[in-house]
C-alpha cells in the first residue's frame, strides 16, 4: 500500500484523542470511542485503519481486532452511502418490521445485508434499537426513524436518490 493510501487522523482528531485518553485510568479504555471516530472518518475499519488505531493508542493490534470483531457496530467492509438498519426484534416484529424489510429490499432490488449496485443503499436487520415505543424503527446512518412504514421508507429512498446521494 502506498503512503497516500495510509489512513491518517487529522491534527484535530489527534488532539481530541489525546484529550480523551486523559479521562481514563488506561489508554485502552479509549479504544471503542476511537474506533467510532475512525469509522466516522474513514467509512469503515480496514486493517490499515485498525493498525492506525492500535498505534495511536499504543495497544496491541490483536486487542483492536478482538474489539472490532466483537461489537456489531464496527464494520470491516464499506457500506452504501445510506445504511438502513431495520430493527426486527420482538417489539418491531409485532408492528410489521418483517413486512417493512421485505418491502425495502423489493424496492431496492437487494437482499438483507446487500448494497445496491450504485453503492447508495445497504439494508441490514439489527437487534433491539431501544425505541420499541416507536416500532418499527429504522436507523438511517444512525438517525432513528420511528413508526416507519413502507410509504415513509419509499419517500426516504426517493429523496436520497433525488439528492444525488449526498448523505
Amino acid at each position: 500500500m502506498s503512503a497516500l493510501e495510509q489512513p491518517q487522523f487529522s491534527e484535530a482528531r489527534k488532539a481530541e484523542i489525546a484529550r480523551l485518553v486523559t479521562r481514563y485510568p488506561g489508554a485502552q479504555s479509549a479504544l471503542l470511542p476511537v474506533l467510532h471516530m475512525a469509522q466516522e472518518d474513514f467509512g469503515y475499519l480496514s486493517m490499515e485503519t485498525q493498525k492506525l488505531v492500535a498505534e495511536t493508542l499504543g495497544v496491541r493490534l490483536m486487542a483492536v481486532r478482538e474489539v472490532v470483531t466483537f461489537y456489531t457496530m464496527f464494520r470491516e467492509q464499506p457500506t452504501g452511502q445510506y445504511l438502513l438498519e431495520v430493527c426486527t426484534n420482538a417489539g418491531c416484529m409485532l408492528n410489521g418490521a418483517d413486512e417493512l424489510v421485505a418491502h425495502m429490499c423489493d424496492a431496492l432490488g437487494i437482499k438483507v445485508g446487500e448494497t445496491t449496485p450504485d453503492g447508495m443503499f445497504t439494508v441490514t436487520e439489527v437487534e433491539c434499537a431501544g425505541a420499541c415505543g416507536g416500532a418499527p424503527v429504522v436507523q438511517v446512518n444512525n438517525v432513528y426513524h420511528e413508526k416507519a412504514t413502507p410509504a415513509s421508507m419509499d419517500e426516504l429512498i426517493a429523496k436520497a436518490r433525488s439528492e444525488g446521494g449526498a448523505a
Partner: protein, 426 residues
Amino acid sequence: MTIPSDPKQVKQICFDRIHIPNLTKLSVARENGAYAFLPTVLKEFDAGKIIDEVKTSGLRGRGGAGFPTGLKWSFVPRNTGKPTYLLCNADEGEPGTFKDRDIMRFDPHLLIEGMIMAGFALDVQDAYIYIRGEFLYETNVMHAAIEEAYEANLLGDNILGSGFSMHLTVHRGAGAYICGEETALIESLEGKPGRPRFKPPFPAVEGFYRCPTVVNNVETLATIPAILEHGGDWHAQIGEPNNTGCKIFSVSGHVNKPGNYEVPMGTSLRTLIEDYCGGLQHGSVPKVIIPGGSSTPWLLAEHYDAPLTYDGMIKAGSMLGSGAIIVMDETADLIAVTRRLAHFYAHESCGQCTPCREGTGWLERIMNRVEAGQGREEDMQVLNEAAAHMAGRTICALADGAAAPILSLLKHFPEEVRARLVENVA
C-alpha cells in the same frame, strides 16, 4: 418541586418535569428545579446520611435485578487507597426497554445531578456514563449537558466551592447486548470485548481497573435527587412495602399507545395497559404479556390484574426486570416471536460459556425448523431439556434469558407448537 401532602397522589419522579420544552438546556432545567437542592447536599449531607436516606427510601435497582441501591452503595470499602468509580449503565438493550433513552434525551441534567449526589456519597472522582452506541443523538445531548454543567462548576474541580471534585465522561458502546451486564460493561469500558466476569469479587470491591466500582442504571440514579430532597421516608411511602417509589414502564407491542409511563409501584398491568396505553390493538385481553423485558417469563390473561411490583411479578411467575412490557394480542404468532428472540440470544451470546454459546445456537436452529413446519415431536423435548440445562449454568444470566421465552412457549402453548410440527402440517 414542593413536597406533596399526600405522596400517593404523586405519580412521577423521573418524569416529573420531562414534558417541559428545552429541558436539556441548563438554564431551563435550573428554572425547573435542577440542581436546586445540590448545594444543600454538598454542604449539609455526608456519605453516611446520603446512604441512610437511600436505604430508607427502599429504592431498588431499576435496571433489572432490583437490588437495593443503598445496600449496594454500603458494600463499597472505604480508605482502600484506590479510587472508587461510579458507572452509569445506559446500555439499554433488553428487548422491550426504552426508558433510559427518554431520561437522557429530555432531562439529561436529572441524571447528571443524580450522579453528582451518588459520586459525592461514594467519594468518586471519575464517573462514566456507558451509553449504547446506537444512541448517538442521546450521546450528543448528554455531551452538551455535561459541557454546560462543567461551565457552571456543577462538575469538575471543587464543585460549587464544596471541596468535592468529580469528572464525568460519556462513553459509547458499539452494539453488544451483553454489555448491559455490569461486569461485561466494565470489561467494555476497559476497551475489551464485553465478556462477563466471575463474581465474586463483586464490582463494589473489585471492578473497573480492579478498583471499587458502583454500577447503577440511569433510572436509579435519576431517582436520587428526589429522594435526597424529600427524604427517604417520602419515597418509601410511594408504592408498596419492599416495592417503593415509582417505576417507568416501557410498553410496546400490540397496544394502541405504546410508550413510557411512570406510575407508582403496585399499579396493575390492566390499569397500565387499559388506562395509559389505550388498550389492545385487537381483542379485550392480552394473549401474552412479557412484563420485564424479553428475558422474563411470559404472563397470560389470568395475570392481567397482577400488581407491577418486584414481588407481584414473582408471585405471578415472572419478574419485573427493567419494566419493559411487551404486549401480544390474539394476532401474535408466538412461534415466530420465540424464534426471533432465540436468534437474538444466539447473536448476543458472548461465547465464553459452553452451555450458552452452544445452547443458544441449538434453540435458534430448532425454532427455525419449527417455524418452517419441519419440526418433530422430539424437538419439543430437546428444546425443553436444552433450555433447562442452560439456565443457571453460566457466568451471567444471558442463558437464563434465552431459556425464558422457549420454556414459556412450551409450558403455556404446547398445542400451538404441536400444530406446526411436520407430522401435523399437511
